[in-house]
């Protein structure tokens, strides 16, 4: 019986971990990750949204994404948190959970690597937020600082 319990626990643990990871975790953004994201989204229109816990206007845009995410399966949005701080870890999770965006790909800047992470995304971006990158299906993109108009988001991410 003990053997059976142990065996089942061994089976369950990786799945429990994996499920938790998918729903609540964020991944450290690296150059390789960014290249991978872009490569995998080639041929599709998608949005990369950068946000911070220190940016009240960012929540307007997260709120819009939440609404779209409820309506639309496979919403092509990648979220990147720019805090670059371990101190904000809980807040980041709270916010993503509050807006129910756990099912979207979530990335974050490595601790104390804010400038480095910003630079690999866009050397001409100075950290103002929210920052949205609209990617065309051919991989080209254009960016906008500040909250994006809802109609633009809807038309860009529309099915």
């Amino acid at each position: 019986m003990n053997f059976l319990k142990r065996f089942l626990l061994m089976l369950l643990m990786p799945i429990l971990f994996t499920t938790h990871y998918v729903y609540a975790s964020s991944i450290v953004l690296t150059q390789e990750q960014l290249t991978g994201i872009k490569k995998q989204n080639m041929g599709e229109k998608w949005l990369m949204l950068l946000w911070s816990v220190d940016c009240p206007p960012c929540f307007k845009e997260l709120d819009m994404i939440q609404k779209l995410n409820k309506k639309q399966a496979d919403l092509n949005v990648v979220l990147i948190n720019t805090d670059a701080s371990e101190e904000t870890l809980l807040r980041r999770r709270e916010i993503i959970n509050k807006f129910q965006l756990m099912d979207l790909p979530n990335f974050h800047f490595a601790a104390d690597q804010g400038a480095q992470s910003r630079f690999i995304i866009d050397p001409n971006w100075y950290g103002e937020l929210p920052r949205s990158y609209f990617f065309e299906s051919n991989g080209q993109s254009h960016s906008k600082s500040g909250v994006v108009d809802e109609s633009l988001l809807v038309s860009w991410l529309g099915e």
């Binding site: 799945i15 429990l16 991944i27 496979d74 480095q116 937020l129």
Partner: protein
């Protein structure tokens, strides 16, 4: 035989549910392949300055250089008697632990009077998102003991009060400014549209037993995420520079001098005209320094249609008219976070740049009250993160203070 076991049945059920759930998760469709690293950098467990995200420095009237930082709910300080070459051992500010904002534009503030008084102010985030109080504590014995902290904002509301800046006179008159969202809160309750925060001003004097800070609104519709800048003019009046919201989210710098003989209404003047339209957070405040001739010298950062990068300008009439702004630093090299200070005819400006690998600290100086500037000079680099740089002065010399994350705090005479 085993399938009749209730434990086994329930576990198999769980397995199936979890497997189904995991395959239905949208995030799984593309990005599992990239989920390689989730751990952040090493957690810093010490109270040393190298662990801090921000450092605040100031000279005391006896020329001691103090540096202050916050970690895990406590503030710590060290004192240097040789202008930053060596420092005393680390001492903890002996007040109860509480949350302290110390990141990017936010940091505790320190000031002194001429009677061994040390004054601290900081922002304490509260449980609810975007709520915080401005806090204050005073030491009458040069940092040995501190008073129980008090809240500066007097509205008692669970809303935002942040980005505190403080000045203290030799006689202990404390002036505080901060961004306060009580007006926006009230308007939202009334169902009215609102944008930004409000600029508030408070005074107290612990030496004269005036323990309660006054609270006065100076301006409305300020940007909510940029630091405020302060200096005192030759008449002893406070000059305040902040990022304001004009019209439809045009974020420009505004200046207000709290003149002694003028009653409200207060009239801020617009300083920058770069037309940065953004419904968002620039996270970059400006800086101001007033010279012995009462000329106001200012630096700021914008990314507007009409002006991008760091700009410097000065004014002889408290901002009513301005010299033509000149660009500072290399816009293409991420020039940002400027600070300025004046000393006699000297005007010093520092800022940071980033070349993709290293953070750089740059300096440009003027010896003729800002009419002309020397070429920009690289002062220092940082391989990890970098705090904002600041210029402080003492005994006829200016010093630059720059904290480099994980490397340590750096002070050098300019």
């Amino acid at each position: 035989m085993h399938t009749s076991n209730p434990l086994l049945l329930s576990c198999i059920g769980c397995l199936l549910i979890l497997l189904m759930a995991s395959t239905n998760v949208k995030a799984a469709h593309k990005h599992h392949i990239m989920q390689a690293t989730t751990k952040d950098a090493t957690t810093c467990m010490q109270n040393e300055i190298t662990c801090a995200k921000t450092v605040t420095t100031a000279f005391a009237p006896n020329s001691d250089l103090w540096r202050l930082w916050a970690l895990k709910g406590h503030m710590y300080f060290q004192v240097s008697k040789d202008k930053g070459v060596t420092f005393s051992s680390v001492r903890q500010v002996n007040v109860e632990k509480e949350k302290i904002s110390a990141r990017n534009e936010n940091r505790p503030k320190i000031a002194f009077d001429q009677y061994q008084g040390v004054y601290l102010s900081w922002v304490m985030p509260k449980e609810k998102r975007y709520t915080a109080d401005v806090r204050f504590s005073y030491s009458k014995d040069y940092g040995k003991t501190f008073t129980v902290p008090v809240t500066v904002n007097n509205d008692g509301l669970d809303i935002g009060h942040s980005f505190n800046e403080m000045r203290v006179t030799d006689e202990g008159e404390v002036s505080m400014v901060w961004l306060d969202s009580r007006l926006a809160h009230q308007r939202r309750l009334e169902g009215k549209q609102t944008n930004g925060s409000a600029l508030y001003f408070g005074e107290a004097n612990y030496r004269k037993k005036q323990f309660t800070f006054s609270n006065q609104q100076l301006a409305n519709n300020t940007c909510v995420c940029c630091r405020i800048a302060l200096d005192t003019n030759t008449q002893g009046e406070l000059a305040i520079l902040w990022r304001h919201i004009y019209l439809d989210n045009i974020r420009e710098f505004a200046l207000l001098t709290l003149t002694q003989n003028e009653s409200p209404p207060l009239k801020p003047v617009q300083i920058s005209h770069d037309h940065w339209k953004i419904d968002g957070c620039p996270h970059q405040g400006g800086a101001i320094s007033i010279d012995q001739n009462n000329r106001y010298h200012m630096v700021w950062f914008n990314q507007g249609d009409l002006g991008k990068g760091i700009f410097y300008a000065s004014s002889d009439d408290q901002g009513e008219s301005l010299t033509k702004p000149i660009g500072v630093g290399m816009q293409s090299a991420q020039a940002a976070h400027p600070h300025i200070n004046t000393l006699g005819s000297k005007v010093d400006i520092v800022w940071t740049q980033f070349n993709g690998i290293k953070h750089q600290l740059w300096h440009q100086g003027s010896n003729d009250y800002g009419k002309s500037f020397t070429d920009a000079k690289l002062l220092a680099t940082s391989s990890e993160g970098a705090d904002r740089p600041f210029i402080i002065k003492n005994d006829g010399k200016s010093f630059v203070s720059w904290h480099r994350l994980q490397q340590g705090h750096w002070v050098q005479a300019l």
